[in-house]
């Protein structure tokens, strides 16, 4: 039995190892021909002329993820608190499956929803042509909500009720007890939910492709289009040859490094709290 568990774990590690190896083996040779600095800080992306600067895409990815977090994290955490501690049972009964459903909707359906509803709405009320960073952020915020809500709710529910009761016994109100006794205790679970959300947002491709405009240049405003790292790879992989193809795999390497950095940062913050 123990062998079976060991085998399963080995398969996982093997899969990660193979992906890492493929990425780095195919992406690093690119840096022998094009400097890392020019690649990461170059502002012009013109592969047909041999110019590979992915800074516009890095900025694009960061901005849409940041926007998604700005919208999604507060809404997600507050919804989780509502569901765990404030809402009546029948309301929770409706919300739980609704959020689970939200998690199951395919990206392309989100993209279509964004294209048909959010883009015209933005165009008519806020200006621009609608295919923008704004819509991409809203869409991503909706996509990461289930992740944040489910993880945060589990974390809040895991806090022993004695915290809440103790706080009430000391004379605090219901709201005060929840926000000052329970939520801080659930902090690490909530943060892990947010980090998972960041991971999903940075990696999202299909939905962004349909609503973000995809201009390969530095973002010029919240209502103008952006291209993210993921979309750049998807749009061009089909026809890339030689150095261009390698540059796209190198983009994958950059994405990988970013995600790893976020994960390490998170576990570092967590470790500090445990040590305290």
């Amino acid at each position: 039995m123990r062998g079976l568990f060991l085998a399963s774990a080995c398969v996982c590690i093997f899969a990660v190892g193979v992906i890492c190896y493929f990425l780095f083996a195919n992406g690093l040779p690119f840096f022998a021909e094009y400097s890392v600095w020019d690649f990461i800080t170059g502002t012009e992306w013109a592969p047909t002329r041999g110019i590979f600067g992915i800074l516009p895409m890095i900025v694009g990815s960061f901005l849409v993820t940041f926007g998604a977090l700005l919208l999604g994290a507060p809404i997600g955490v507050l919804t989780a608190i509502l569901m765990a501690r404030f809402a009546a049972k029948p309301v929770v009964k409706i919300m739980k499956p609704a959020i689970a459903l939200l998690a199951g909707i395919p990206s392309v359906v989100y993209g279509f929803f964004g294209l048909k509803l959010l883009v015209p709405f933005t165009r008519n009320t806020l200006g621009g042509n609608g295919l923008s960073m704004f819509v991409a952020s809203i869409l991503l915020a909706i996509m990461i909500l289930p992740t944040i809500i489910q993880t945060s709710e589990a974390a809040i529910n895991a806090v022993p009720n004695s915290y809440y009761e103790g706080s009430l016994a000391m004379g605090a109100t219901h709201e005060s007890s929840v926000f000052r006794a329970i939520v801080p205790a659930a902090k690490s679970g909530i943060v892990s939910g947010i980090v998972l959300g960041i991971g999903r947002a940075i990696g999202e491709t299909t939905a962004i492709l349909m609503v973000a405009g995809n201009q390969a240049r530095m973002p010029t405003g919240i209502l103008s289009g952006v291209r993210t790292l993921t979309v750049n790879v998807l749009l061009e992989m089909g026809y890339a040859a030689d150095l261009h193809r390698e540059s796209l795999i190198a983009t994958g390497v950059v994405l990988f490094v970013i995600v790893m950095a976020i994960n390490f940062l998170f576990s570092f913050i967590n470790r500090r709290r445990v040590m305290q």
């Binding site: 309301v91 409706i94 294209l115 015209p120 042509n129 492709l209 289009g225 998807l234 061009e236 089909g238």
Partner: protein
Amino acid sequence: MKLRSFTALLLILTLALGLTALAAQFDAAQTITVVSREEGSGTRGAFVELTGVLAKDAAGKEKDNTYSEAIISNGTNLVLTTVADNQAGIGYASLSSVMHNDTVKALKVEGVEASTENILNGTYKIARPFNVVTKGELTDELAIDFMAFVMSKEGQAIVSEDGLVSGATDETPSYEAANKSGSLTVGGSTSVAPVMELLAEAYMELNPEAKIEVQSTGSSAGVTGALDGTYGIGMASRLLKDSEVEKGAQPIVIGTDGIAVVVNLANPVEDITVEQVRQVFTGEVTTWDALSK
């Protein structure tokens, strides 16, 4: 939170979101929303060459000067959807796809309507060949027979029914089904894929043991796929580049397609010159009222 107030809130939100795009009058002062395809698209490659958006820069190298603010949509259908939903939109797509589509309007180019007759008689200027790409001569029996079908009278009838201009004459031979079997993957241009699917369907009806799969991945992907063996036959909606021919790619023209310049149905513009098309797609002209006659 009570159930009643929750449902009330939900209803209000739904109503608010429901009051979205209500058709407004076409505003000529609005900025043109230029919709383009991704760089590997055959439609884009042919379009920028035929309209002059592709030009030689100071160093003598060819440069695609498509407007940097142009929205990039990856596929004919996404271009049409984007233009159909945006009053200020303008884009380009294969005529065969636009002919079956009532959600957008194809503009006349220099007074010539985009139609198969006008492509045949050469008056519609923006047209390109639909190519099937193979690596050297075909050796696979099923592929050879399928190509015989495509170039036969029956195959070319399907091609012209779909809106392409066929090169078929009275001398084009008829196809005789030889009950071939096996499987074949045809991949490449998103513009050629629809007509290829019709051809594959018709072929499979005549040869029930054969299995032909059509994939839409883009013209450049079609050529590389044909060269490296991923596809038995590739599809490209543009002329082959010298580098591709050097690697052994051989084109067979199965039809000629026009590229239609499409705008939103609410747009009053009906006619456009090739020079104006170039100006719009390079970003020299950015508003609809600046597009003077």
